[in-house]
Symmetry: C2
Subunit: 350 residues, 2 copies
């Protein structure tokens, strides 16, 4: 189903680039044998790596550039002086219709800024959001924004709800995802103006979204809803808090096992079970934060990603393209418009 999909890869982005990018593409090609790759970066480094993978060599083109965006570059700096960088050229390929998606493990701020300027937002969406999915007790959920917008108003949150809804349909394959708004309590009066106003608008009958209402921090892991909507400040902190807590609990488990002879014996028996658990929580499985709301598909892989992790980020991009993410966003915005509702505040109606 991924027939004819072209993925532009920033071959120089990430701690282990370009090696892991090339090997990541090789792994992804096993999953999607009909995908085509465009590798942007230092040809002298990419070619020898590519030579190791015959199949990939046949389905990849190399686009040489000597420039790359450094991990320390500020977004404004990358925008100004990174016009010939591997990251920028990969984004340009999508803007020019030569590729369908761009995937990079490079500088997050630079990727966000460049994608915003080059790909532009879909009409009806004011600001793109960063989204990711993660395991919960009931399956998988999506959360956005994860840090692209530190301050958000009710318009932004309503638009994020729409973007998250379509992402859950296209990437998680849910028919009618349930959307919740992150808050400090479930009662209507809780929280600040932006969340209260966004909730009021999402509760309207004309809204195409299946809105659950407010959810709290512990609903994230519980999987109470499929899509969690929040501002980029809160979302970033919630996501990183969850990651840090997983590490903390696993560390405590380890020291509990090590602490006694019986614990060590138990560990030997339970090793298989524990490895399965590690697989279930493996952050590499959930690699790939997506910039939603742009007129193009842009996926950000973790900077420290290995090849498997990078392949998963590529998979997210392929899923979005294959399942028509952009078309569905446009359709939904049109349907909203036809219904006389808009994801923007209807100040005229007040």
């Amino acid at each position: 189903m991924a027939e004819g999909i072209v993925i532009a890869l920033d071959a120089m982005g990430g701690d282990h680039a370009p090696e892991m990018v090339v090997r990541g593409a090789h792994i992804a090609l096993k999953r999607f044998p009909h995908v085509h790759f465009q590798l942007f970066g230092d040809e002298g480094k990419i070619r020898p790596l590519l030579a190791k993978y015959k199949k990939l060599s046949r389905r990849a083109t190399v686009h040489h550039t000597e420039e790359a965006v450094s991990g320390e570059a500020k977004p404004s700096q990358a925008l100004r002086s990174g016009r010939r960088s591997s990251m920028r050229l990969a984004i340009d390929a999508v803007a020019e219709g030569k590729a369908h998606c761009v995937v990079s493990a490079g500088n997050t701020g630079a990727l966000m800024a460049m994608s915003k300027v080059v790909l532009r937002t879909v009409p009806g969406i004011d600001r793109p959001a960063m989204a990711s999915y993660f395991p919960t007790r009931r399956g998988e959920s999506v959360m956005l924004d994860l840090g692209a917008n530190v301050e958000c108003d009710a318009d932004n949150l309503v638009q994020f709800a729409l973007l998250g809804d379509v992402f859950a349909r296209t990437v998680l394959g849910l028919v009618q995802p349930v959307v919740g708004l992150l808050n400090v309590g479930s009662e209507e009066l809780k929280g600040h103006d932006a969340v209260r106003e966004a909730a009021a608008r999402l509760r309207e009958n004309s809204s195409p979204i299946s809105f659950y209402g407010f959810v709290e921090g512990d609903d994230i892991g519980a999987g109470t809803v499929d899509v969690i909507v929040t501002d980029g400040f809160t979302g970033n902190i919630a996501l990183k808090t969850a990651e840090g807590t997983v590490k903390l609990v696993i560390e405590f488990f380890r020291s509990a096992f090590r602490h006694s002879m019986l614990g060590r014996i138990g560990y030997l028996f339970a090793r298989g079970a524990l490895n399965r658990l590690r697989g279930r929580l493996d952050p590499r499985k959930y690699n790939g934060a997506v910039f939603l709301g742009l007129q193009g598909i842009a996926v950000k892989s973790h900077g420290g990603a290995d090849a498997l992790s990078f392949a998963n980020a590529i998979s997210v991009a392929v899923d979005m393209k294959a399942n028509g993410f952009l078309d569905k966003i446009r359709e939904d915005l049109q349907r909203l418009h036809a219904h006389g509702t808009s994801p923007k505040a209807q100040s005229a109606a007040v």
Copy 2:
């Protein structure tokens, strides 16, 4: 060291009140045999429970009232019509100097509102904050605000830093606690105006606080700093996200063990180790959110608390009184004043 300390207890607050309140006081009395309790609530219910514990009976007085604040009451409603409630009378006892601390497992919003109005804030502190401590990889840390103030400016955050610092000294026994400000990145330019301005003020040489700088969500579990300062919206969500994640990981562990015969055998051997782990993460150990910044000590226990849990909330109150929390806050504010710095923005100097 808890000689002569008087604790006012809202005997009617919490899902299992008054039984767990009385039994909680009994447990706490074993730890602090010189403490005295004042139990506010329905005498007809409290007396028969108290009769079971001889020692406690000798060190407790009962103050009858038929009214109690319901769990559903709004703060404004509780303030207006709860003047004869067990919660209000317990707070009044502190305000009138008859008790040193108040502990309640009742309605959080009502307790916060009543404490604020009755006990008032310490001069130099604009708004009280809710704080709690929790386990990390390096020991224990304190976080505030956990939900008392949904929106906070730089003044509030700087004041919270001061309150958290003194709490870490008095309750966690740290000599020079390190304070961090929760943000979406560690660079100076990250985040919104309030966190950036608060950080600039905490970095000043005249600040008595050992300021680490910005910390991110994963630093909470890592124990990077001793005190984490944030607004009540973010803090509430971060704390509940961490709680939900602990539940998620434990649930995953359980199902991993159950999944195979070897896993089940391993579990039998490792049971002791796992119980120790559960003890280490036991939320009952960390029961007791504290309202800091008031002219009195007010501790909120979880509504679903059992007796052990409630005894831990009492312990937090005793520690704060015994270690002179209120005096230290006043001293620190005076010292700041003498240095010509103030926890408020120095608009005159700009």
